[in-house]
Symmetry: C2
Subunit: 447 residues, 2 copies
Amino acid sequence: MDCGDRKLDILITGGTLLTMEPPAEIIEEPIIGIRDGKILFIDTSCHSSDHSREAHDVIDASGSLILPGLVNTHTHLPMVLFRGLADDVPLMTWLNDHIFPAEERFINRETVYSASLLAIAEMILSGTTTFCDGYFFEGSVARAVIASGIRGIVSQGFIDSPVPNRPDPTKHVVAAETFMKKWRDRSPLLTPALICHSPYICSPDTLKAIKAVSRDHGSLFQIHLAETREEVAILGERYGKKPVQYLQGLDLLDKDTVAAHCIWLEEDELDLLSQSEVKVAHTPESNMKLGAGVAPVPEMLRRGIDVGLGTDGCASNNNLDLFGEMGMCAKVHKVFSSDPTVMKAEEVVEMGTLGGARVLGMADRIGSIAPGKCADIVLVDMNRPHLTPLYRPFSHLVYCASGSDVVTSIIGGRVVMRDRRLLTIDLPSVMDEVRKIGDAIRHEKKD
Amino acid sequence: MDCGDRKLDILITGGTLLTMEPPAEIIEEPIIGIRDGKILFIDTSCHSSDHSREAHDVIDASGSLILPGLVNTHTHLPMVLFRGLADDVPLMTWLNDHIFPAEERFINRETVYSASLLAIAEMILSGTTTFCDGYFFEGSVARAVIASGIRGIVSQGFIDSPVPNRPDPTKHVVAAETFMKKWRDRSPLLTPALICHSPYICSPDTLKAIKAVSRDHGSLFQIHLAETREEVAILGERYGKKPVQYLQGLDLLDKDTVAAHCIWLEEDELDLLSQSEVKVAHTPESNMKLGAGVAPVPEMLRRGIDVGLGTDGCASNNNLDLFGEMGMCAKVHKVFSSDPTVMKAEEVVEMGTLGGARVLGMADRIGSIAPGKCADIVLVDMNRPHLTPLYRPFSHLVYCASGSDVVTSIIGGRVVMRDRRLLTIDLPSVMDEVRKIGDAIRHEKKD
């Protein structure tokens, strides 16, 4: 194996590699060379000592699974501020009495930055290397991406009701243009995008206008879709259409639209999503906790729709651990369909990695471990009692492991966590900042 | 506060105490004195320095939640050997092609002992201090209880089809008597009991005979009940009765019967369970993973039925982390009933602690933190990014935390884990033993 003239940045030796390149391959004792942020080679034939002299950093992966970093296709990072603020209440009580007032009062440029750093720390610590966010003050999320070295799509949010940083509806397009121009080409890890909250909160004009800006910039367009039965009823009453058909009428459906939730869809709507190559972000834990429903994911996959996993915001989950989401995805669909053979472990890990990359339009760069792809790699320590014995790595990832079993994370060829120590985030001070904001929120709630 | 003449064994200072004594109370900065395996006092008024001179061991709980150890009401510990051996297959394929052959070949006195020690290690590491097991070779599980210092109910299993250690049906009573006599009064942590597999696998004579032995000894009687629709159909065909009515006809229903699963029950059966004070072990993750169904737990709680949480065996879960079970319990019932207000965090933590103790008939001794009760206490470190900020401890326990956040565990006044280090189990050698058994199982499967 010729590594060229220059030294490697990182060499990973040993362990068990799940490439997630179809067909999902398992390689024992691989040697992986990384340089300039990319995977240079995967060698299964030569000894690590041949390469170790040529690398600045050698990571011994013995006893670990090596897999592509997880891809979280739907987050609202700043909502970590409201983690556990209110639960177990009806959706509208939760929104109107707890979340909206807290957002109005406590969401600003500074709080979003601190919250995003904490959320990113939590994601890295639980194996996520790429996320797709949507909220307000997303410029602060972008700054947190650059500061932390995670890979992120940050989507500025649009909505047609009073919220913090409320954009005047007539100024939506200008705000969207400004955001896209400001954050494009700032970092190879950062991708700006746009999100409209939903077809029932955003006006048709807003939806069309923001999607147009998104098309101009070749960016993703995110939207929440068919999350509740109430939403379907509202759209039926207001526009006389089912949710997907309503969006089709506005020309919103294409391969760059990522629809989150997609629970209350009928057969013809699933067909439409499939035909128009819309992507779906599946968020099982949030949907269950809010009592929203169970998305027809097996039916989506049968139609060839790309489906990724997402945690949603921490106010409705209440954590950012995609391992939990993988386990939940497997289990909820088995029980919901009375069929233990649906959503097999291998399929679920695919949804959490390469499937998520497809949803975000990044499958050419991330989601699997292959020469030429970005070096977004995590190591999961299997030398743990709850992962013993080990017969099938995919099973353990979905049914036994949790984010805390991830020990090392590499994003874009940079080690951001090693032996569970974060290398790019000053965690104690970030936690202190968020606790101060939390104290203020708690104090105001008591008054 | 007078601590008497003798020194305390342990003093816990600081932190946030969830006593789980009804009404669930939260006490900040408590001082808890422990002596002779019991909680001697909970002091909220004086300074720790007053007591620290009088204790052999002082545990600083600052930044931690202090709660009663979790109670796992339904386990098959030795099945850790089959963790992840087969998943995502139909129930009968799983049993007949994977589990039963592996049990026949690899379950014996020695393997059960090693497997039980590993399972106990996993449970202690994830906050469980009491479990209720049922399997074969339960004498080996009993030995593991005594060796490890966990609190356990170990139930020898009876079944009327060929299995390892197969008891001759005519000798069931002798075997049950022998087991009960051998293991009673061996340790304050150990309680022997009996389990019949199910109303469809055990004969009516076996069910009646084993329950009679159980009554003679004042012990628990466990049974799997109404786990699948197939079971209901079999009993209807064979006996012309619904599952609960069938058991009632055999005089099996009383306050010492613990029925696991209880999914496919009708209203009148729930009423019967309530009237006869039968206890229920709810195992949501196993039921979901096997596609079995969702037990009507909110309906049970409305009828005043005592319901505890269980993980079931590791072949169908695939871990023993009750935190996962608490989160799943809250979420699955919300989505199944389309009501986010059912199974509130406080209720779920109650099911995982005092509720579980009630199910096992041990609520006078364990399940809450109060003077006179056994000192079964765990500390959960809240100084973690995924638990920040902290508004409501109950919410975080159910919706954010995992077993790996438990740092210290005291069982019967003995510290069995401190700062995540197990003090009573040689974990590396136990893991090695189980790996060797796993290698043999894997090797045979390949042949």
